[in-house]
Symmetry: C2
Subunit: 457 residues, 2 copies
C-alpha cells in the first residue's frame, strides 16, 4: 500500500479516508468498461490551493492522482486504474458568481449540472448543453469528457459553453485557460485542450460558463415509423434541412418494446423519433416544417399537437435506461457504447448496428442523440456463456470501426476512458496518438494524472 500519510499535512482528517467503503465507491463507475480498482486513499479538497498541494506532493512522490466527481461515467474514466489517490471534487460545489449582463456564471467543479440551471433561472437564463445525467453529473465531470445532451443538436456541446477555466497542473501550478470574452485569438487554446482530456492533463478547479436566454415556449413530439431506415432518414433530413429543433432522439423498436414491458404501457412499438422545439416565437412554423419532413418518410404515428402532457410524450425515451436493465435479467450490457458520425451517415451506422445484431443473433437496443449523428447501444450477452464475452467484443469493435470508417468518432460524448483505448490509434492514426502523447508528456512528465486512461498501454 502506498504511503499517503503526507496528505494529513495538507488536509484535515475529515478530508482523507482509507476506509473500504470510500475506496470501493471511488473504485467503480456506472459502466462495465473498467474492472473495479479502488484507490489507496480518497481525498476531498475544498480549495484550489489544496488541489495544488495534493498534486505537487503526489507528483514528487510518483503517486497517481485520479480526479473523481459524481461517478456517472461509463468508460472507467474516473476509476483509478493504477491505485493511488482518488481526488474527489464534490465538496468544491459553490456557485461563485452569476453575471446576467455577461450571460455567465462562475462555478466550482463539484456543482451539479441541474444546480447551474437553478442558479440562473431567476435571470431567465439556462445552461443549454446539460447531459441526460445533468441532475447527478457535475460540471467538472462534464468538462472532463466534453459531455453533451439532447439539446446539443441545437446548442452544441458542454465545451462550447465553457469560457474560462482555472486548471491545476500535475506539478501544482495553476493556470487560467480561455477568457471571459466571447472570442479570442490570443495564444494557444489551452481551454479546449483541457476540455475532454479526462483529467489526464490537469484538474479544473473553477469554470466560467456561458448561458443562454431561456426560451419562452417549448413543444415536444414524437413520430413512429414503419422501418428503422425511415426513422433515421427522417432524423438526418430534419438536421440537414435546418429545422430549428432542440432535440431529435432515436429509440429503436427493441428499445420501445423494452419500455412497454417495463412500464406496462402501450406506446407504438416501432422505431421512434422524440422531438423538442424551443423558441420565443414562430414555434408553430417550425413544427409544421418538421411535420412535412416527417410525413415524407411515411410515419405510422405522429404526436406533435402540443396538447399531450410533455412527460407522457417523451416517457419511452426517459424510461429507456432502466427498461433495458430490466428486460433481459440474465444478460449484461458488456459494451454500452456511444459513437458519432456525420449526419449524412446516420442511417448507415444505425443500419450497421442492427445488421451486426442480426448476424450474431445478439439483442442490441439502439438509441441516442440522432440529431448529432450520435448512436448509443448496449451489446447484451450472458457473460457466463462460452465465447460470449469475445463475441460481444467482436460486435463492439465492428460498430466502432464502422463509425470511424464513416468519418466519425469512437465516442461522441463519453470519452475514451479505459473502454475505448484500443480505438484511439484507429481513429487518430499513429502520428495523431504520438502528438497527443507528446502533449501529455509536456504537461505531465511524471504521469501523475489519471494514468491508464485515453492512451493504449
Amino acid at each position: 500500500m502506498t504511503d499517503t500519510s503526507f496528505l494529513h499535512s495538507i488536509l484535515s482528517p475529515e478530508q482523507v479516508s482509507t476506509t473500504d467503503a470510500d475506496r470501493d465507491y471511488h473504485g467503480t463507475d456506472w459502466g462495465t468498461a473498467a474492472a473495479a480498482s479502488p484507490p489507496d486513499v480518497v481525498v476531498w479538497p475544498e480549495s484550489t490551493a489544496e488541489v495544488s498541494a495534493v498534486l505537487s506532493a503526489a507528483t514528487e512522490r510518483g503517486i497517481p492522482v485520479t480526479p473523481f466527481a459524481a461517478g456517472t461515467g461509463i468508460e472507467g474514466n474516473a476509476v483509478p486504474a493504477h491505485g493511488g489517490i482518488s481526488l474527489d471534487l464534490t465538496r468544491m460545489d459553490a456557485v461563485l458568481d452569476v453575471r446576467p449582463d455577461d450571460l455567465q456564471i462562475d462555478v466550482e467543479p463539484g456543482v451539479i449540472g441541474a444546480d447551474v440551471d437553478e442558479a440562473v433561472a431567476a435571470h431567465g437564463l439556462f445552461f443549454p448543453p446539460l447531459p441526460t445525467s445533468g441532475d447527478m453529473a457535475t460540471i467538472g465531470g462534464m468538462i472532463a469528457t466534453n459531455a453533451s445532451g439532447k439539446r446539443t443538436v441545437k446548442y452544441g456541446k458542454v465545451g462550447d459553453w465553457v469560457r474560462e477555466i482555472e486548471v491545476v497542473l500535475a506539478d501544482g501550478s495553476v493556470i487560467t485557460a480561455g477568457t471571459r470574452a466571447r472570442k479570442t485569438s490570443s495564444g494557444y487554446d489551452l481551454r479546449d485542450l483541457i476540455v475532454g482530456s479526462e483529467g489526464t492533463l490537469g484538474v479544473v478547479t473553477r469554470a466560467t460558463l456561458e448561458l443562454a436566454g431561456r426560451p419562452e415556449r417549448t413543444r415536444v413530439g414524437r413520430a413512429t415509423f414503419g422501418t428503422l431506415a425511415d426513422a433515421t432518414a427522417a432524423a438526418a433530413d430534419l438536421v440537414s434541412s435546418g429545422v430549428d429543433v432542440s432535440a431529435v432522439e432515436l429509440v429503436d423498436e427493441l428499445s420501445a418494446r423494452m419500455v412497454n414491458d417495463y412500464v406496462g404501457s402501450e406506446f407504438p412499438e416501432g422505431p421512434t423519433l422524440f422531438l423538442e422545439f424551443q423558441a420565443d416565437h414562430g414555434l408553430e412554423r417550425e413544427v409544421e416544417f418538421c411535420r412535412a419532413i416527417l410525413d415524407a418518410h411515411d410515419p405510422v404515428a405522429v404526436l406533435l399537437d402540443g396538447e399531450t402532457d410533455p412527460e407522457e410524450v417523451w416517457k419511452p425515451r426517459h424510461e429507456l435506461a432502466d427498461a433495458v436493465r430490466a428486460y433481459y435479467p440474465d444478460l449484461e450490457s458488456l459494451h454500452a457504447g456511444d459513437v458519432a458520425v456525420p449526419i449524412g451517415s446516420f442511417s448507415s451506422i444505425v443500419a450497421h448496428v442492427h445488421a451486426v445484431a442480426d448476424a450474431h443473433d445478439v439483442p442490441i437496443p439502439t438509441f441516442g442523440h440522432a440529431g448529432d449523428g450520435n448512436v448509443h447501444f448496449d451489446v447484451l450477452v450472458d457473460p457466463d456463456e462460452e465465447g460470449a464475452v469475445a463475441e460481444a467484443h467482436e460486435i463492439y469493435e465492428s460498430i466502432v470501426t464502422e463509425a470511424i470508417d464513416l468519418g466519425g468518432t469512437a465516442t461522441g460524448e463519453h470519452g475514451i476512458g479505459q473502454g475505448k483505448r484500443e480505438f484511439l490509434p484507429v481513429e487518430h492514426g499513429d502520428s495523431g496518438v504520438a502528438t497527443m502523447r507528446a502533449i501529455k508528456e509536456a504537461l505531465d512528465p511524471h504521469g501523475t494524472l489519471n494514468p491508464g486512461k485515453v492512451f493504449p498501454e
Copy 2:
C-alpha cells in the same frame, strides 16, 4: 543567405522563387506591427506531400518556415521574422468536396473565404463566420488566427465551424485532427489547439468546414445615439437580452465624421450601431424587439424600415477602413488594435479608449464587432514627431491591459503575431505561457515553424 537549393529536389522550378519582388511581397502584411522581413526564398507547394517534404527537409537543416496565404493579417503573423522559407499555400486552392447532406465542405487551405460561399450557395448553404476580409483572406489564414466576422455574434468564430483538419507537423508527419462527426470526446482536441496557433504548431493542408442553411430573409438597420455610452449600452443590452441579431457593429462619432468626409455623404455624425437580422421567418418580431431596446437608450436616428437599400444603410461601416486612411494623411495608425471583453464590460472598454484618446489628445477612431465585445481602434500619430511613437505605444498598452483587466483578451480575432507578444504573459500569466511553450517544444522541438511569433522573445 541560407542555402535553400535542396528545395529544387522537392519542387519544380516554378514553385520556388528568390526574386526580390516575391521575397518583398512575402515580407510584409497589411499591418504596422511587424517590420518588413523578407524570406530567403518563397515556395508554392501544391500538395500535402510537398508541404511535408519541405517541412521535414527544413527542420533537418534548421531553416525557419513561415506559412503565408493572402497576407491580410495585421499583427505580422505571416511575416518571416527570422527569414528562411515563406510557405505560400495559395496554390492549394481546390474545393475538394461538397456534401450538402452532412452540411460540410472539404477545401484546401488556399481557398478564398468568399469562394466557399459561392461553392455551396446552390445547395442553399453558407459559411457563417467569414471575416470582413473574406473576399481576400484564405480559409487557411482564417484557421491560423481563429478569425471571426460581423456574424460571429450569432454564429460564432471560424474555429467553431472547422470540423476536421489535415495538419503537417514540423517533422513532416501528417495528422488528421478533429472528426467529421458533429461532436466527439475522443482523445485530446488537437483541432482546436491548431486553430489559432498562427502556423507555429503545424500547417493546415485540408479542412472540413461545417455549413449552415442560408436564411431566407435578411434585414439591415442602423441607430445613431446622442452619446457613446448610449450606443455601447444598447449594444450590450441587445446581446444580453437574446435578440436574434446577426450583426451588431459600432462606429464612433469620429469614425462617422471620417466617412462623411471621405464619401462626401451626410450620414448622422454620432456613435452608431449597424445591425443585421437573418431568419427564415419571424424577422419582424426580432426587429421590433430590437427597436424597443434601442429606444430605451434615446437614439437620435433609427433606420430599421427594411425599405432603404441595404448597401446604403451600412455604407458608413463599409467605407470606414479607407476613410480612416484618408482623413489624416499625415498621421499613421501605429497600433491598429483589436481587443475583446465580456459583453457586460463593452461600455467600459470603449469609454476607456476614448478617455485615453482625450487624455493624450490623440485621435483614435473606435469601431468593431460590438456584439462580441470586440473593439477595433487606430492610434493615429505622426511618427516623425518627437515622442509620438512612445506615446502611441503607451496608449496601446493602456487599452490592451484594460481589456485584460476587464476579464477579456488581448486580441479577439487578429492573433498575437509579433505585435501583441508582450501581452501574452499579461493575459495568460507565466504558468500559462510556460504551458504554451511546453506544447510548442513538444510539437516543434527544433523551432522550425514561424519563429518569432506568439511568444515574447
